[in-house]
């Protein structure tokens, strides 16, 4: 049988069997509406409460500060639009960065159309934001700072603790999109000092379609989804008990497995070093230290990312690319461009994102497969010889 290697865990992850097992009873046994007063309802309400407690304690939050949403994107939209609107009388200026996820960037664009102003601070060539740049961008009318904790394409980790302290000193609400960070590094809202934080289930081996927004008590944030009084009146919609329970279980497992992250990092480093060694004209995009353990983003000059993905797919390997040819917009990755990667190199980028589920054999398979693919595509690339000659000069 052909080997299958799933190395795109930043895109989504598989649901772990233990996670699947805890949620199954909530479909056809414990199916009551948690808001119903009869016992069929309360039997669903208490697992929901437990899930909330588990998540709160793993994140260092209070139970009343955890709100379930239908996705990471919803949590991002809620935090940004909710905080901006709630503070609109005080000011209409927001600080964010150029390399946020589109859930954040497009929520900000929507606010800009409504008359809010956004300053997008630069990201340095290593993919890290300087807290001093954030502080410099603060104005009297600034009400919100929205900076991600770890980037989804290049995995670089941002100085959120420092940024949260700056926000606090200036009385500005700080929100961080921790969708990629949670489960891959320790995340504690009290230690970070942030006011709001988002996470998503499907990045940590829970199902797609569940997220959480942490809202610190006392943070002004307007409701995004009006409805029937669920989530303490702040987020309408009958609760997805099955997925909430699954998310709590997944977060529990992910937190326990943080101690094993060194193994994931060792696999990533071996993959990185071997590919750099075997493939000339290859670069790593983004800082190699301040980076999520499983993330590797590389550029292979003179080849295009989508054709790399197609060949990898033919060899049973799943990865992703920042090439324009792989996006409906035909725009190359805004993340790579934000850190100064030339457009030509963005087209030739490839992201591998490993998780605990990957093995050394997976890494071996990629190492055996990719150099051959790159060479095959370079052999038919009109850029290859001329570029190589230029480099040799």
């Amino acid at each position: 049988m052909k080997r299958f290697v799933y190395a795109d865990n930043a895109a989504t992850t598989k649901v772990l069997p233990e996670v699947r097992d805890v949620m199954m009873p909530f479909f056809d046994e414990v199916y009551g509406n948690p808001s119903s007063a009869y016992s069929k309802g309360t039997e669903a309400a208490s697992p929901l409460m437990q899930a909330r407690e588990t998540i709160a304690s793993l994140l260092g939050a209070k139970t009343t500060e955890i709100f379930f949403t239908a996705s990471g994107s919803e949590a991002d939209n809620w935090a940004i639009k909710g905080a901006a609107q709630a503070n609109a009388k005080k000011g209409r200026h927001i600080i964010s960065s150029k390399f946020e996820h589109h859930a954040v960037l497009h929520a900000l664009e929507s606010l800009e159309r409504d008359g809010f102003e956004v300053t997008y601070v630069d990201v340095n060539k290593n993919g890290v934001i300087d807290p001093a740049d954030v502080e410099k961008a603060i104005r009297p009318d600034t009400t919100l700072i929205a900076i991600m904790m770890a980037n989804n394409e290049i995995g670089t980790i941002q100085p959120i603790k420092e940024i949260a302290a700056i926000g606090k000193a200036h009385g500005v609400t700080v929100f961080t999109d921790a969708v990629q960070a949670v489960g891959n590094m320790p995340v504690n809202v009290k230690e970070l000092g942030v006011d709001m934080l988002s996470l998503s289930g499907h990045k940590i081996h829970a199902p797609k379609g569940i997220g959480v927004l942490y809202i610190r008590t006392g943070t002004r944030c307007r409701t995004l989804i009006d409805g029937g009084g669920q989530e303490r009146g702040r987020r309408g919609g009958t609760e997805n008990v099955a997925f909430a329970v699954a998310l709590a279980k997944a977060l529990e497992i992910a937190t326990a497995r943080l101690s094993d992250m060194a193994r994931v990092k060792a696999m990533r480093d071996r993959l990185m070093n071997t590919l750099l060694d075997k493939i000339p004209y290859a670069h790593v995009n983004g800082d190699t230290d301040r980076r999520l353990a499983g993330n590797l983003n590389m550029t292979f000059e003179c080849v295009e990312g989508e054709s790399l993905l197609m060949w990898l797919d033919a060899s049973g390997i799943c990865a992703s690319t920042g090439s324009a040819c792989n996006s409906a917009s035909l725009e190359p990755s805004h993340v790579l461009l934000s850190i100064g990667v030339p457009v030509e190199h963005a087209h030739g980028s490839l992201r591998f994102s490993l998780s605990h589920e990957n093995t050394e054999e997976d890494v071996d398979h990629i190492i055996q497969t990719l150099p051959v693919i790159v060479q095959r595509l370079r052999d038919m690339s009109p850029l290859y010889n001329s570029t190589m000659a230029r480099v040799k000069e």
Binding site: C302, E304, S307, L330
Partner: protein
């Protein structure tokens, strides 16, 4: 998202390479746009394309359209090759996703640009059918005249 034909031409591209004594060479696209196609033609004294090779930097569709375009013009006369349209390339591949239509335009233009080079080298006037824009394929209005 791709037809079997596209996958076949991507994984087993026909006519990859260069022709040392080509008498018509054309290149379109640029690295910034993410695709470059270069086509080499060997045209005999009767105006028949006896050999054709290509080199392409680009996505799966760019490689597949280059490959099938070389097959479609090999053995044909120059004037026949000039009637190759991006629509015919798409049909021969059993379709392309809408965002990849521009790759078929590039393939048509790469052929035309190689033929234009052939006329130029002979000191002859380039026929109007062989004149193309040489920018990023979808950056100019001329592309709107092609099939979607």
């Amino acid at each position: 998202m791709y037809s079997e034909k596209v996958i076949d031409h991507f994984t087993n591209p026909r006519n990859v390479g260069e022709i040392a004594d080509a008498n018509g060479v054309g290149e379109v696209g640029n690295a910034k746009c993410g695709d470059i196609m270069r086509i080499y033609l060997k045209i005999d004294d009767n105006g028949i394309i006896t050999d054709v090779k290509f080199k392409t930097f680009g996505c799966g569709a760019a490689i597949a359209t280059s490959s099938i375009a070389t097959e479609m013009i090999k053995g044909k006369s120059v004037s026949e090759a000039l009637t190759l349209t991006n629509k015919a390339v798409i049909e021969a591949l059993d379709g392309l996703p809408p965002v990849k239509v521009h790759c078929s335009v590039l393939a048509e233009e790469a052929v035309k640009s190689a033929i234009a080079d052939y006329y130029t080298r002979r000191g002859e006037e380039v026929p109007p059918e062989a004149i193309i824009c040489d920018g990023c394929c979808d950056s100019c209005d001329s592309c709107s005249t092609h099939a979607e």
